[in-house]
Subunit: 133 residues, 2 copies
């Protein structure tokens, strides 16, 4: 714990490569993969929206009580851009990512974990100034 | 242009602070703000999903042909976590963010721009190895 506090949310930005192209191009499969990942991570699913694009590619979002999971696929490249944004201690976004990478037969995946909603110094300073008034 | 090519998508991760708390807590307002931002950026809107949480906070997604916009709000902190993910040259995610920050009366906002889907060296190497076979 430091002066900037704890993050309000944790976000994984995952670059998932060398996936099964047929799976990436099948909207039903991608939707099922994402929903199962949300379930495995312990998330509470609120809404599921998926689209298939012409000539190829799928985009989709799973809105969860704890924030969201998104995916955009490029079947011709074997690539999927996956985001997993979670709040609270209960849901582990890495569990969701592991499930997605496995189910898409990814041979390569890397991710960055980003802390969202860290307090910022100027905001803390304003608060301190206000409390002095 | 380098060996890693051009990104497939561009994503803004925006930390938007000191917003109007009443706006952040009103699901209809947040939805309108996000839809207008998508329109101003030139995006083609596919689907709009917003939820209000108890006791406070709004989460929402605008799915666009060019990827997505998401928001999660903490009215009690005046904070919104905004993501804008776009593909192609036509949509400018910064236009969307400017619109969102203005409409939420944000006094402070900062964002990182992240390139998604850059080629990676191991993938290129495999391709070269294959072409030699």
């Amino acid at each position: 714990m430091n002066v900037l506090g704890n993050p309000l949310g944790v976000q994984l930005l995952a670059e998932v490569w060398e996936c099964n192209s047929d799976k990436l191009n099948d909207v039903k499969t991608v939707e099922e993969v994402m929903v199962r990942a949300a379930e495995k991570s312990g998330a509470d699913i609120r809404e599921v929206v998926f689209h298939r694009f012409e000539p190829q590619g799928v985009s989709g979002v799973v809105v969860i009580s704890e924030s969201h999971l998104t995916i955009h696929t490029w079947p011709e490249l074997g690539y999927a851009a996956v985001d997993i944004f979670t709040c609270g201690e209960r849901v582990n976004p890495w569990d969701a990512l592991e499930s997605i990478a496995q189910e898409l037969d990814a041979e390569e995946a890397h991710a960055m974990e980003i802390s969202r909603g860290m307090k910022n110094l100027s905001r803390l300073k304003k608060k301190m100034d206000r409390s002095k008034e």
